[in-house]
């Protein structure tokens, strides 16, 4: 493997092989990839050649799952939390998948609540954190507008234009403040400290909270 570009190419090939074998349930022939890539994949211990067909080794399967998992988690992150458009998501996710460390991966996965499917509806392979934390760790960051009555959360950050954010800040809805959702219909009613506030969806959408 020579440099990052090469690594990316290998990982992409591995991803395609895995998706084809596991999701579309189709055999993959050696001729679909360049000889260089096949050679490198074999020497890394990721695949075996069985005649014309490619078989994934355990090690290769593991690696592929990881890359796909990262890609789809990245999609979720960019799409849900950052609200990026479709094309941007795809582009960025493709870069993301090759650079995320294990810690970051777990953090993102936990943050998003161990999502089971990507925004396109495909399964996200489960990671260690998903299996371990499935029961007690739920998704952490929610928009205020996504919370249900009775839920408590802590304000984490505010994403809004100047007009909305200055309003939110002026009344003291600062990051770190604990809130309790009282109602979500017809307007949102929340409790901060000992005061209740009513706010509309636009403002509730701008407040990102950590749910307890």
């Amino acid at each position: 493997m020579k440099g990052g570009k090469m690594k990316e190419e290998l990982e992409n090939a591995l991803k395609e092989i895995w998706m084809s074998l596991n999701e579309t349930k189709k055999d993959v022939s050696v001729s679909e990839f360049s000889e260089d890539i096949i050679r490198d994949l074999i020497s890394s211990g990721y695949i075996l050649r069985k005649g014309d067909k490619i078989i994934l080794t355990d090690q290769g399967g593991e690696r592929a799952r990881k890359i796909i998992r990262l890609h789809r988690l990245a999609e979720r992150l960019l799409n849900d939390v950052l609200g990026m458009g479709e094309t941007h998501v795809e582009e960025s996710a493709c870069k993301f998948e090759h650079v995320l460390s294990d810690e970051v991966e777990e953090a993102i996965c936990t943050l998003l609540g161990h999502p089971g499917v990507c925004p396109h509806g495909r399964r996200i392979p489960r990671g260690k954190c998903c299996i371990e934390g499935e029961e007690e760790v739920k998704r952490l960051i929610f928009r205020l507008s996504e919370l249900s009555p009775g839920e408590e959360a802590e304000v984490k950050y505010i994403v809004a234009d100047d007009e909305i954010s200055s309003k939110i800040l002026a009344v003291g809805l600062l990051p770190g403040k604990k809130i309790k959702v009282i109602r979500v219909f017809p307007t949102f009613v929340i409790q901060i400290g000992n005061t209740q506030f009513a706010l509309d969806r636009k403002i509730a959408d701008a407040i990102y909270t950590l749910r307890y």
């Binding site: 505010i158 800040l169 003291g172 600062l174 017809p186 307007t187 009513a198 509309d200 636009k202 403002i203």
Partner: protein, 657 residues
């Protein structure tokens, strides 16, 4: 709410007066009640945010000082028009600043105290509504807090007049310069913004009413008024450039980071000051408070509260009381007066000025006292009860989604509902709305279709049957929805945001309700009586010169065109002077049995939609500008006649004649 025309007088008084003490604080923390406790003067108090739209001044006799009540503000960084008004007063006049806060929300409100202290004001912190805080299990170490802030801190319960004498004593000490304020460095900005703050502070060369540190903080946070204030600085351009470069280098806004820092400073100060005992919740009041925002409960509650207003103003006021007072007035004043005049005043026109059909006493004062007074009084009582209970913000929250469809936010429910009392008063209160767009739409709706209490009362009194009431209600609401929808499309600007504090529900205090009703009535009568008398005189002059007959003749043309009798013109002319006056005229006409079923409905619709009264019209022009005012006026006239005309056709078509 205070008579707007007095604002200049108030400002003059402020300029001329002795030492000035200014009350500041966020909405609904008890500033106005405290004002009353300190001065004995009544500023309208209510349990909803944004009642004080004008400044109120009063004298504290013992101290020979002037007390100024300001509209609610959350911080020195002004966002709404009200806050800007408050800030302006603060910057120009303060000798002492009293920051009133709701004790239970000390954590959220202390950042503003810190800003005031850092700005260099002689500040007193008043922790009000201590009873509510204690009920929640909150304990506040006042002397520790006072030491940390370097200013006096006082606990009060304004509703029970507790802590007022202590507050007065401290105020006296400060005015006599016996109290020593300790200088503290309370705002510590630890991020890189701190360096910029220092750099801007160093660039300021002129003298200002507040500290340069606070000015540079406000400038960094992007406060427009502050930048305006710094315009004359030699290094103004350099400062602006610096601020812009800070902004462009940040993912979040500087104001966000600064607020965060100040809040952190506040939290540190409060460490060890506030302790909270766990207290079991679930009292009956908590439950009712909780239910009051539940849509399934609060929709019926909303209808119930409107029904309460109807019972008060519509039944008790417009029917029972009006009947009684009207009849008595007729028997004990009109008849004796007329026979007296007939015997002793030979001159016909002189007689007509006072008595007769249109005289000052027989028409003007009769309308004001016998018809308008009972209706308006009962409406204001009902409104004050609703207001003090804390229910109105909940109604606002409930209706927000629906109001968004017509370009308004739930906040508008307060001026619109008040408009059912007096459109002029309500037009002033539209100032509490945040966007210009929302203010225009609310003003338009108030002018066109929200009947004032006198009108409403008379309408309810004359409506022939329930079906007619529904037709009238349907047409008026239809028109309101239509113009709201159209206006929200035509008027530029983004749709409004809704954000409102919901105060705890309180059982209205009878004394408060009484005083508040009294204050509103006083305002109303100062405004109304002269106009009623004036109208009688104008009509009198008009009759002598025959101009009056000419205008009535002219107005009777469209009046006849939409299916009303000729006398309709007269009513419309009255309505032009004051809507309630016109409504009262309509009342007269009905009692004479001149109008048929369909004519009554047409008259009700037309008069409701007809132009606002002189007072409201002038207020519209004052608040929204002449152009907007006149435009609304024209819209109202054309709507009144065209909808009136269509109503006639509709009634004819369905056969309700």
């Amino acid at each position: 709410m205070h008579c707007h025309s007095n604002e200049h007088e108030e400002i003059k008084k402020i300029k001329a007066g002795s030492k000035k003490i200014i009350l500041v604080g966020s909405p609904n923390v008890g500033k106005s009640l405290l004002f009353h406790n300190l001065t004995g003067k009544y500023a309208t108090v209510s349990n909803y945010p944004g009642t004080t739209v004008d400044i109120t001044t009063g004298k504290i006799k013992e101290l020979d000082a002037m007390l100024i009540d300001t509209p609610g503000m959350y911080s020195l960084l002004a966002i709404t028009e009200e806050e800007r008004v408050a800030k302006k007063i603060l910057l120009e006049n303060a000798d002492v600043v009293v920051h009133v806060m709701d004790a239970k929300n000390i954590e959220r409100m202390l950042p503003f105290t810190i800003q005031l202290i850092e700005a260099g004001f002689k500040t007193i912190l008043v922790l009000n509504a201590m009873d509510e805080a204690e009920r929640l299990g909150l304990e506040i170490d006042v002397s520790l807090l006072s030491r940390r802030l370097g200013i006096p801190v006082v606990k009060t319960i304004a509703t029970q007049k507790k802590g007022i004498s202590e507050l007065k004593k401290i105020l006296k000490d400060i005015l006599d310069e016996r109290y020593r304020f300790e200088k503290r460095d309370l705002i510590k900005i630890n991020t890189f913004l701190g360096n910029f703050m220092i750099r801007i502070t160093e660039m300021l060369e002129k003298e200002y009413p507040i500290s340069k540190k606070m000015l540079s903080i406000l400038a960094l946070a992007g406060d427009k008024d502050t930048l305006e204030l710094l315009k004359n600085e030699r290094k103004y351009n350099e400062i602006v450039e610096l601020i812009n470069s800070v902004k462009s280098g940040m993912a979040t806004s500087p104001s966000y980071e600064i607020f965060l820092q100040i809040q952190k400073n506040a939290n540190q100060i409060l460490e060890g000051v506030v302790s909270e005992k766990r207290i079991e919740k679930g009292s009956l009041r908590d439950k009712i408070t909780d239910l009051s925002t539940n849509p399934y409960i609060s929709f019926p509650m909303a209808i119930l509260s409107l029904y309460m207003i109807y019972l008060f103003a519509g039944v008790l006021g417009a029917q029972i009381l009006v009947d009684y007072i009207e009849t008595s007035y007729e028997i004990y004043i009109n008849e004796p007066l007329n026979s007296f005049l007939y015997e002793h005043v030979p001159n016909y026109w002189l007689r007509e000025l006072i008595g007769g059909e249109y005289g000052v006493v027989t028409l003007g004062i009769r309308y004001a006292i016998a018809i308008i007074f009972p209706i308006v009084t009962t409406f204001f009582i009902a409104f004050s009860i609703l207001e003090d209970s804390g229910y109105l913000p909940r109604l606002a929250a409930l209706l927000d989604v629906a109001f968004k469809k017509i370009g308004l936010s739930g906040r508008s429910v307060i001026p619109l509902l008040l408009g059912l009392g007096c459109g002029t008063m309500a037009t002033i209160v539209t100032r509490t709305l945040e966007s210009k767009k929302e203010r225009i739409i609310a003003t338009l709706m108030l002018a066109v279709g929200i009947p004032c209490s006198a009108q409403l009362g008379v309408m309810l009194g004359i409506v022939p049957d329930f079906r007619a009431l529904l037709i009238w209600l349907g047409i008026i609401s239809g028109v309101l929805i239509l113009i709201g929808t159209a206006a929200s499309k035509v008027i530029p600007g983004s749709s409004p945001l809704f954000f409102m504090e919901l105060p705890p529900l309180r059982i209205p205090n009878a004394g408060n309700v009484f005083y508040k009703t009294l204050a509103r009535l006083e305002w109303y009568f100062k405004e109304v009586m002269p106009i009623f008398v004036l109208i009688s005189v104008v009509i009198w002059i008009g009759r002598i010169t025959t101009v009056f007959d000419l205008v009535v003749e002219m107005l009777s043309v469209p009046s006849v065109a939409i299916g009303l009798p000729k006398e309709g013109g007269l009513i419309l002319l009255y309505g032009f002077f004051r809507r309630d006056y016109g409504a009262a005229g309509l009342y007269d006409l009905i009692s004479q049995g001149i109008l048929s079923y369909s004519q009554t409905v047409i008259a009700m619709v037309t008069l409701t939609l007809f132009v606002p009264c002189v007072a409201q019209f002038s207020m519209m022009c004052k608040e929204r500008g002449l152009k907007t005012g006149v435009a609304i006026f024209v819209i109202a006239i054309s709507l009144a006649f065209s909808v009136g005309y269509l109503t006639g056709i509709l009634l004819n078509y369905v056969g309700y004649t």
